[in-house]
């Protein structure tokens, strides 16, 4: 299993644990509550998307003999941007103040770039063999 896959899966597992804890907090009287969409994105971006990208990077058909998994720097960039973007989103949603808009724009840009990087990275490996 390549290193970036291991980091992606470990990160996904970490987000999964955080997500269910946040879900529990949402039911707790008086606990600081995140907006429900943030909880959903912890689940779908943090857990599911990290897991899918990590496993796809590992299991998809090889790109070439010389570079079986393509340019791994792209995978690392996608992993970093995706998780940094998700963290910034959570911070922005917690702040919910006048400065939260900038945090959220930065979070949105990071996650968008991350997804496009992963799509560009995986695309050449989606092939018939």
């Amino acid at each position: 299993m390549p290193t970036v896959t291991r980091w992606s899966i470990k990160t996904a597992l970490g987000w999964a644990a955080i997500t269910v804890f946040v879900g529990l907090l949402l039911t707790w009287p008086g606990a600081p509550a995140l907006p429900y969409p943030t909880y959903l994105h912890l689940f779908t971006v943090g857990w599911l998307t990290n897991l899918i990208f990590g496993v796809a990077h590992w299991m998809f058909p090889r790109a070439s003999v010389a570079a079986p998994r393509g340019d791994e720097r792209l995978a690392w960039a996608g992993w970093g941007a995706l998780n940094a973007g998700l963290i910034l989103r959570v911070v922005g949603e917690v702040l919910r103040g006048s400065s939260s808009g900038a945090w959220l724009v930065f979070a949105a840009a990071l996650q968008l770039v991350a997804v496009w990087i992963w799509v560009a990275h995986l695309w050449p490996r989606v092939k018939v063999r």
Binding site: G101, A102, L104, V105, A108, L112, V115, K127
Partner: protein, 145 residues
């Protein structure tokens, strides 16, 4: 990866790229001064959940599930072609506002996929039986490696 899976996964990746763009716009709506972008949330969810995740799962499942018994391979092509067409057309219809019609197509696609995939969800290959023969095959595989 079979041709149909390749096209299905590619379509799923396209939906993902588009849905991420819509999601980024929604998340930035206040800073952009466009609060009306919140109305795109159901479309964003449809693209992500059906166009990306469900379609990706179908494409990969068609590729990696055990093949049918008695040399049946991955089964007939037509039902899976219908699944892919109906799923994508369904998402497009939902985006265009024909929600009920789109959901009908998505439902038919999901039911068709389930029906054609169930025979392939079976014990096959290494580890199928958990009996001694499996372990012998594992040992042979390791020797080959």
């Amino acid at each position: 990866m079979p041709t149909l899976s390749a096209w299905t996964v590619r379509a799923a990746l396209v939906w993902l790229a588009l849905a991420a763009l819509v999601g980024a716009l929604i998340l930035s709506r206040d800073a952009l001064g466009l609060p009306a972008l919140a109305r795109l949330i159901p479309i964003h969810a449809e693209m992500m959940l059906v166009g990306w995740m469900m379609q990706f799962a179908f494409g990969v499942a068609h590729w990696i599930l055990p093949r049918r018994a008695a040399g049946g391979g991955r089964g007939a092509l037509a039902p899976v072609l219908f699944v892919v067409g109906a799923l994508n057309f369904g998402v497009i219809l939902v985006i265009l506002g024909a929600t009920r019609e789109g959901r009908v197509l998505e439902t038919l696609a999901a039911v068709a996929f389930v029906l054609q995939a169930i025979p392939r969800v079976r014990a096959a290959g290494w580890g199928a039986t958990g009996q001694a023969g499996d372990l012998v095959r594992l040992k042979r595989r390791q020797e080959l490696v």
